[in-house]
């Protein structure tokens, strides 16, 4: 269990660091509004081992969200989103459950689960994450079209980065 803990702590710090240092500065937009943002940090929650206690996942999500919020100057927005994503993680895993179930020491990485499974897992979770994030950011469904546009564009960009990263790094656990 120890190696899982070390690996995840390192991963947490590296991804969070890359997010706030590199991807925070990149946003692609048209005219006045920035529609494309890169949010790769939800991957930290998604890559936790299958058997991580649910409460721990949610708590880690909260800590991660707060950390991101400190750098993005938006107290609570990322925290709320991450907590929700962490809460939804179990349901998404349940939805995508293979017929033989998950292995006791399994980790949702391409090496173990295959690219198709991982891609659909990341896609569902990240769409949910971004949709919730932009909704909370706008804090009103008056801007629904803008929320959906931002979600789709940012999802495509972030998802691309996440999959490329996973293929490049290709973690074993």
């Amino acid at each position: 269990m120890n190696r899982f803990a070390t690996r995840n702590i390192v991963r947490f710090l590296v991804y969070a660091f890359v997010q706030v240092v590199l991807f925070k500065r990149i946003s692609i937009g048209f005219e006045e509004t920035y529609y494309i943002h890169f949010y790769i940090y939800p991957i930290i929650i998604l890559l936790l081992p299958f058997k991580t206690p649910r409460s721990l996942v949610i708590f880690l999500g909260f800590v991660l969200g707060l950390l991101i919020d400190v750098f993005y100057d938006s107290p609570g927005v990322h925290a709320a989103t991450c907590v929700l994503t962490a809460y939804l993680r179990d349901y998404i895993l349940l939805l995508l459950k293979p017929t033989e179930g998950y292995k006791a020491e399994g980790v949702p990485v391409i090496e173990q689960m295959g690219i198709v499974w991982c891609a659909s897992y990341f896609a569902i979770a990240m769409i949910a994450h971004l949709l919730v994030y932009y909704s909370i950011e706008a804090f009103s469904f008056v801007y629904l079209d803008e929320i959906i546009l931002k979600t789709l564009l940012s999802f495509l960009a972030s998802f691309f980065i996440v999959i490329i990263t996973q293929l490049l790094v290709n973690p074993k656990y």
Binding site: P53, R54, S55, V57, I58, F59, G61, F62, G65, D69, S74, P75, G76, V77, A79, A80, V83, L84, A86, Y87, D90, I136, A138, F139, S140
Partner: protein, 274 residues
């Protein structure tokens, strides 16, 4: 206590989720300016919607009063238009004869109480009667044209013979040439009436406007009635048979104006003397 522990082991994740979400939203609303503004604003949107609903309801309750005041206002305006039109027509004599008053017609607004429309002889009942100044023989109009003539008057009600009545004969004229004839209804469509007794030497074309002639005491002259839709000369006849498309939609009239000709007595006396 045991139940409490059970609750936490069973729903711990969900409880944690809810608690952390509440903390997050507390942070969002308290520390982010834009969201706080929206929060306040959303509250305003909600209260605003409630206020608007109650205002709408209030307006609805006052609708009748408002309608009545609008009717009176409308009647006054229409009255002015009619009188100005007549005065401008009579302008030629203005130099010779000083008219002491511009007003020769007054309009009395009235609400329709009851109406038949699908019969051969159609009547209208008005919710105003002699108490409001209505008399038998007065013309009834709307902004779009003529409706009929008051036949009987009680104190608070009046019965109107509509132009959609077999006995109704209204004196109308062709606006372009001034030839006049009788407008009557032969049944059928509520929008189509017949104009008779226009002599066959009159020049006429489809789309010509028909107006009231002003020969009767019921209607002022030059009130638009309808347009020529079709015309032909029956064989052996000296006059046209003209089909008129009227402007008024007689199926839905709610408010009408009753025309009060102020010089009525004078004119009636003159006509009788002849």
């Amino acid at each position: 206590m045991r139940n409490l522990i059970y609750l936490f082991t069973r729903f711990g994740a969900t409880i944690l989720f809810v608690v952390l979400e509440i903390i997050s939203f507390y942070l969002i609303v308290n520390y982010n300016n834009s969201q706080r503004e929206i929060w306040i604003h959303s509250a305003n949107i909600f209260t605003g919607a409630v206020n608007k609903k109650s205002q709408d309801f209030n307006d609805y309750l006052r609708l009748k009063k408002k309608n009545d005041s609008l009717m009176i206002e409308n009647a006054r305006l229409l009255e002015k238009v009619i009188n100005y039109r007549i005065v401008s027509r009579a302008d030629l004599f203005q130099n010779l004869e000083e008219t002491d008053s511009l007003s020769r017609y007054a309009l009395i607004p009235a609400r329709v109480c009851n109406q038949t429309i699908h019969l051969r002889n159609n009547y209208l009942t008005l919710c105003s009667g002699s108490a409001s100044g209505l008399r038998a023989g007065m013309g009834v109009i709307t902004e779009n044209g003529i409706v009929g003539i008051v036949a009987q008057c009680s104190r608070h009600y009046a019965k109107v013979i509509m132009i959609l009545h077999s006995q109704s004969r209204i004196s109308v004229a062709l606006k372009s040439s001034g030839f006049h004839g009788n407008l009557l209804w032969k049944g059928g469509s509520h929008a189509r009436l017949n104009l008779e007794a226009i002599p066959k030497h009159a020049e006429i074309s489809i789309g010509d406007t028909i107006v009231t002639s002003g020969y009767s005491i019921s209607f002022p002259s030059e009130l638009p009635v309808g347009v020529v839709r079709d015309f032909r000369i029956p064989s052996g006849s000296n006059s046209y048979n003209i089909e008129v498309q009227i402007f008024n939609d007689l199926q839905n009239i709610e408010f009408v104006y009753v025309v009060d000709f102020l010089d009525r007595n004078e004119k009636e006396r003159m006509d009788l003397n002849e």
